[in-house]
Amino acid sequence: MSGALINLSYLAASALFVFCLKGLSHPRTAVRGNLLGALGMLLAVAVTLLDRQIVSFEVIFAGILFGSAVGAAFAVKVPMTAMPQMVALFNGFGGGASVLVAGASFLETIAAGSPPPARFLVAVSLTALIGAVTFFGSLVAFGKLQGLITENAVVFRGQQAVNAAIGLVCVVLGGWLVTTPWEPASYLALAGVASVLGVLLVIPIGGADMPVVIALLNSYSGLAGAATGFVLDNNVLIIAGSLVGASGIILTRIMCIAMNRSLGNVLFGIGGTVGTGPVPGEEIYEGKVKSASPEEVAMLFDTARRASIVPGYGMAVSQAQHAVRDLANLLESRGVEVEFAIHPVAGRMPGHMNVLLAEANIPYDKLKEMDEANSGFAQTDIALVIGANDVVNPMARTDPDGPIAGMPILDVDKARTVVVVKRSLSPGFAGIPNPLFAAGNTLMLFGDGKKMILELITALKEF
């Protein structure tokens, strides 16, 4: 009966996870949703612990304490701008956990001597494969985003072939594991090779594509969890795993669509070649770039009636969100109508800009999504682009075979005047020059995002 009780609690936990995700459908209910999710997790864990009065109880407990400490430390310390790599890291841990779990239960079962059922072995090898790929893939992604290893794509000839080969090896090893279950080595081998695969799959992908990779790995770790569930015949694992798997896949699709690139292309196509240093844009910029001082820009704002602020990855890098908030408030106090135009893939992960601006207390009804924003630029006096580049690059419309060809962009060039805040003319993640900077109605405000905004504010205050 206790068994039934436990399973009921697992069921309740699963339901809580669903409510968690349902809650995320609106900012108002999101916090509660997240708490429900945490509650579900707590329930599942607590029940499992109660379920097993066991020697290694202390071990487990130590593990949980230690893990919580580390996790909490990370979570509280990380700056909002470092979210992408944080998610990547956590995600990796998830994957790692499932490899170890599968490994442990595999070793146990064979230690117990009884020949494990084929289904168990299949699920074990799946878990090992997915889990290891997730773990190392995520670590590489983390390294790239954190700048521990080169942001650039590491590409070498025949890469695909090599990966394919390794993948094949994994399959073979999996077969070995299933057919000769008494051989622990098989598991180690599989996990090992899968780890290599995980690394090789991610290094060829440019840093800016990491969010896609992370989302994908996230869905993998979900599937790994589900696979574990099949191994242990545990429903909450299966359900939670599938939920995560679904969300990861959906987010991946959203990003790919917003960048107008196929997933394949991200994983081993152009995705590999972008970010490999700037393409010289001389012929485009040649003497056409007009640079301005904060004072001149301030003057422009003095006469403006409607301004729209277009944040990009650069705002995240320079942590300019609070400065931007102050600027917006100042402008509004001067009777300028201010709104924010958010491109779906501005920044480095979906909703990246929304989070930063939310951090700076900007009410989210001020944040316009792409289509709404684009319909407004024609009536906008000043479009202030802060550290955005690709998402405002007209080449997406004009150059049919560039890396961002066909990617829907924010048509800031329709505004009467465009002010672009960035440190140089160097390209964004797509590694291509941006004709916008040379456009007749564009003024460049060169410098660090935050610094420039602050100077702009002081300049404005001086009138």
Partner: protein
Amino acid sequence: MEGLIASLTIFVLAIFVGFEVITKVPPTLHTPLMSGSNAISGITLVGALLSAGHQHTLLTTILGFVAVVFATVNVVGGFLVTHRMLGMFQRKEDR
């Protein structure tokens, strides 16, 4: 076999639920969604516990321990960070 089918059924249904529910999440909340669903994926912790539980050998105990640590980091970290992010949106609500 029966058991496998049941698991499979549950899997399929859960996928359906996932797609239906998640397609409703607005872009604004995509980052929290990412970290949140990530935290949920830490459910492998339960798996970790279940298998660390029996502890036949020292090796499995160690594996189990590390697994527990990893999974807990994922869970606690994930939910906390999500909570932080959402807290910001929340403040917006109030004003």
